[in-house]
């Protein structure tokens, strides 16, 4: 450690030899939601002006070296990892900055010409070590190559997208706790000592309704001409605090995160906090440095900006009218997923998609269903307000037992103001007895469906535009459309689970039966049965016999 430090110091002195071209910005968006929650989104964006194709990733200063090693070793073009606890409720909360499914989700694009399948497995293993998560359970059994749902988020050199270079897997069972946040924080240049990262204290993160830790890596344009590349690494944390858990509506940084911001991280370029005050009438203390009004896709947003300096900062928000609850306007598109049917034989998976927009919407529905849930394509039914709807396109690869999952992608054009349900039936199957997990009676997870849509309006929309990096870039950034990737609920099904003490009982019973049957049979078959004479022997004859035998022994 000391050696590496001295080495770094030496290197820092030779600035001309080793200089870092890039920057790191940190931002925090606090948005009171229409229901009784407040949403906090942290975003740490590291930009590194290098050519990812030529870079060896031997040296890095702001950019985390472990991530560089992953890029270099596994030929990664783009990588998205999220670890999430809780469920984002689109209907009430609108759209998050980053969509994430409950549990773990990994999406990676590999460079053309690389051995994608091997690299994918090795990448999952490395990520599991890096984030202390069970991502090593990602294998052929839960990996798919979606054709329509995901497209590269970063820049590419060709318009032709080959979906054989993408891999997507989700682990709905994965839990998220401090052990995942600890290594994530270690990737930041200032760790969690200063800057906005000092607000990430585990005790105040895991008591939330929803918490999601993410890492997003992509190549971006270095400048406007877009002839050279930069690497962009976004580290995000999304939290939804409930006023009921906080005990009050009047939140403050200290109340939410346990402490205020001590001082700015010296390595960071920009360190800003934005508080969304569009819907709520709050009094902020201290007064904000700046008020920003953003008009984007037909929606006006008012934000209060704070710049983190070297003085202590604790923002306190006091509601003027605590009893006034803003009207909840559901977003243009949201979805739910649930199970139908009863009994232990047949069931169905229903995905209900609501289009509240006045125009029809094009959506892509992606489902990754485990192999032990055999679905039947002929039962696929799309019904929109009572009328059957024909999918525009369908991609389906049926599962093969213990080899690959079911992959289903449906392209739909949803009529205006409708609710559409996509139903597919499946059978319950028995697993081999060793395939049951230790807590088999808990049930088996089916991961969330992903519904992608390019929305024409930015109602309730917070995400950063496609070609931009920072939250501040999303102000007044109207585009042709706004991408949402809605994640639905995970499902839990109870497969017929045998009684695992049954083998023991069977052995006991079988042994008893064998013992009972074998004993008499053995007796009967091996013993010689001889009739015994009933005649009584007289005493005189007995003495005679005895004398005879005695005389015989004497002769001998």
């Amino acid at each position: 450690m000391i050696y590496s430090l001295t080495f770094l110091i030496i290197l820092a002195n030779y600035g001309s030899v080793f200089c870092y071209e890039g920057s790191i910005d940190e931002e925090l968006l606090i948005k009171p939601l229409q229901s009784n929650q407040v949403y906090a989104h942290f975003q740490f964006s590291t930009k590194w002006d290098i050519d990812p194709e030529k870079e060896t990733f031997r040296h890095s200063s702001l950019f985390p070296r472990p991530i560089g090693e992953l890029i270099q070793r596994f030929d990664i073009q783009e990588l998205h990892v999220t670890l999430t606890g809780g469920l984002w409720r689109y209907e009430k909360w609108g759209y998050p900055v980053v969509d994430a499914a409950t549990g773990a989700e990994v999406l990676a694009w590999f460079k053309p010409g690389s051995d994608v399948d091997t690299n994918w497995k090795l990448l999952a293993n490395s990520l599991s070590g890096l984030f202390c998560a069970s991502l090593n359970f990602i294998d052929d059994l839960n990996t798919i190559k979606p054709e329509f749902s995901f497209r590269p988020r970063g820049v590419v050199d060709s318009k032709f997208i080959n979906s054989s270079h993408v891999r997507y897997a989700n682990l709905p069972h994965e839990i998220v706790c401090t052990e995942n946040l600890t290594p994530w924080k270690k990737l930041l240049p200032c760790d969690s000592k200063t800057g906005l990262a000092s607000l990430l204290n585990s005790g105040h993160i895991h008591n939330t309704r929803y918490h999601s830790v993410g890492l997003h890596l992509r190549p971006v344009c270095r400048d406007k001409s877009c002839e050279s590349l930069s690497l962009e690494l976004q580290q995000t944390v999304s939290l939804v605090y409930d006023y009921l858990i906080l005990g009050t509506k009047n939140w403050s940084l200290r109340k939410l995160f346990g402490q205020g911001v001590n001082r700015k991280c010296v390595l960071v370029n920009k360190s800003d906090i934005y508080v969304d005050t569009t819907l709520t009438d709050v009094e902020l203390e201290p007064a904000p440095d700046k008020t920003v009004t953003s008009i984007r896709g037909g929606q006006t947003t008012v934000l209060q900006k704070y710049e983190v300096t070297n003085t202590f900062l604790n923002i306190y928000a006091k509601y003027q009218n605590a009893d006034v609850v803003p009207l909840n306007l559901p977003p243009p598109l949201h979805a739910n997923q649930y199970l139908s049917g009863y009994g232990q034989e047949r069931g169905g998976i229903v995905t209900k998609i609501y289009n509240n927009h006045w125009k029809e919407l094009d959506v892509v529905l992606l489902q990754n269903i485990p192999w032990f849930i055999p679905i039947y394509l002929h039962t696929l039914k799309v019904v929109s307000n009572g009328k059957e709807l024909k999918p525009l396109q369908l991609r389906y690869i049926p599962a093969r037992q213990r080899i690959r999952p079911n992959y289903l992608e449906v392209l739909l054009r949803l009529p205006a103001r409708t609710s559409t349900s996509v139903v597919i039936d499946f059978d319950y199957v028995f697993l081999k007895w060793q395939e049951y997990p230790p807590d088999a009676n808990f049930g088996f997870h089916i991961g969330s469906a992903v519904i992608s849509c390019y929305l024409p309006v930015a109602k309730n929309y917070t995400a950063v535009p496609w070609d931009m990096t920072l939250i501040s870039d999303s102000f007044n950034a109207s585009r042709n459309g706004y991408l949402v990737e809605i994640r639905t609920e995970n499902l839990i099904i109870t497969l017929p689970t045998p009684d695992f003490s049954m083998p023991y009982n069977v052995i006991c019973l079988a042994c008893t039966v064998v013992a009972l049957a074998f004993g008499p049979l053995h007796n009967i078959t091996t013993r010689k049965l001889i009739l015994k004479s009933n005649k009584k022997v007289q005493l005189v004859e007995k003495i005679k016999k005895l004398l005879n035998s005695l005389s015989k022994t004497k002769e001998e």
């Binding site: 030496i10 290197l11 030779y14 030899v17 606890g85 497995k121 293993n125 490395s126 599991s128 070590g129 890096l130 202390c132 998560a133 069970s134 090593n136 359970f137 329509f148 497209r151 590269p152 988020r153 820049v155 590419v156 050199d157 318009k159 997208i161 069972h173 839990i175 998220v176 706790c177 401090t178 052990e179 600890t182 290594p183 204290n201 585990s202 005790g203 895991h206 008591n207 190549p219 344009c221 877009c226 002839e227 050279s228 590349l229 094009d362 892509v364 525009l392 396109q393 392209l411 054009r413 997990p437 230790p438 807590d439 992608s452 849509c453 390019y454 496609w466 459309g481 991408l483 695992f500």
Partner: protein, 335 residues
């Protein structure tokens, strides 16, 4: 002549002693909780107590392999998220703010545990999931869970037998994966787990003898279950008073839980261990104390300027990069 021989002998002994002391160069810890389900909260608290101590005494996270079979800290049943306490009065949050769990949930299996010890892991296993010890490593192995006479249950679905455990340690010895092992186990009938050991340099301690139950310490009414086991509770109490510089010996540690407080009898097996525990500092296993020399003379290091091969190729036409449409255009599809 005799004097010379004596001198020679003394010299030889000191050399051997110096040699044997030198053979310990690094420390590793393998801490395993084998129990799933909320009612086994205490086992997670046990293993995290030891984790906290070894980390505090200087073993880095990269040299601690922590296996936890279930998530207690972020369990929905936990009224205090992201914490695991050793005491109903919430004295110490043993989970801490910077814990790193290496194997968790379904990954905690007998197979993974034995593979970890013997180093026979599948290719691609990350470093944090490997026991990269060598012939100079002092390894602390701590196990907690539900045990019986000659076995320890993993996740309520499988078990490791004492013979398998002994064979795994022998394989470690043959592969020169340890210098000394301190084997701690807190289960019912714990002593049965180390009875079959036959490899050298192992000191073993168990919380109860064969035929005895190992008991829990107390109930925390806010979580509704027992919070920690007796043996580990007192072990943690002792370890909290140890610091990396202290000269508390291992024999003191072996006496942390007398029968009056533990109720079960703590079993110790010393016959495989050739040092006297009263002379072994506890930091030989729980800490990572290394001799460090500070150099005062300044060395100038100059960087070697690497010559960059100049490409003689004519400058290629600059590539033009672009963002693609975020979603496939439905009108372009052949519907």
């Amino acid at each position: 002549m005799r004097l010379i021989t004596t001198y020679f002998l003394v010299f030889l002994i000191t050399v051997i002693q110096a040699f044997s002391n030198k053979s310990h160069t690094n420390n590793w810890a393998v801490l395993v909780d084998t129990s799933r389900f909320w009612f086994n909260y205490r086992h997670v608290a046990n293993v995290l107590s030891i984790y906290r101590s070894v980390k505090r005494l200087g073993i880095p996270d990269s040299q601690i392999i922590l296996m936890i079979a279930d998530d207690m800290a972020c369990n929905p049943r936990n009224p205090r998220p992201a914490t695991v306490f050793n005491n109903a009065d919430q004295h110490i949050n043993v989970y801490g703010d910077d814990v790193e769990v290496d194997y968790r949930g379904y990954e905690v299996t007998v197979e993974n545990f034995v593979r970890l010890l013997t180093g026979r892991l599948p290719p691609g296993t990350p470093r944090s999931k490997q026991l990269l010890s060598d012939e100079g490593s002092n390894v602390l192995i701590y196990l907690t869970g539900h045990g019986g006479d000659g076995f320890l249950k993993f996740q309520d679905s499988e078990e490791i037998t004492s013979q398998e455990m002994a064979d795994a340690l022998e394989q470690m010895w043959q592969k020169q994966r340890y210098n000394e092992i301190f084997f701690m186990i807190d289960t019912c009938q714990a002593a049965s787990m180390y009875e079959r050991f036959y490899s050298p340099n192992i000191l073993a301690v168990g919380s109860s003898l064969v035929g005895e139950d190992s008991l829990s310490h107390h109930v925390d009414s806010s979580i509704g279950v027992y919070i920690i086991d007796r043996y580990t509770y007192y072990a943690l109490e002792f370890l909290e008073k140890v610091n990396p510089q202290s000269d508390r010996s291992l024999s003191e540690f072996l006496k942390v839980c007398p029968k009056s407080v533990c109720i079960s009898t703590v079993g110790v097996r010393k016959d495989l261990y050739n040092r006297d525990p009263s002379r072994v500092p506890i930091t030989d296993f729980f800490g990572s104390v290394r001799p460090i020399d500070i150099l005062h003379d300044i060395t100038n290091v100059t960087l070697v300027q690497r010559k960059r091969a100049k490409s003689k190729k004519p400058k290629a036409k600059p590539k033009k990069y672009m963002y693609v449409d975020p979603l496939v255009n439905f009108n372009s599809l052949n519907v």
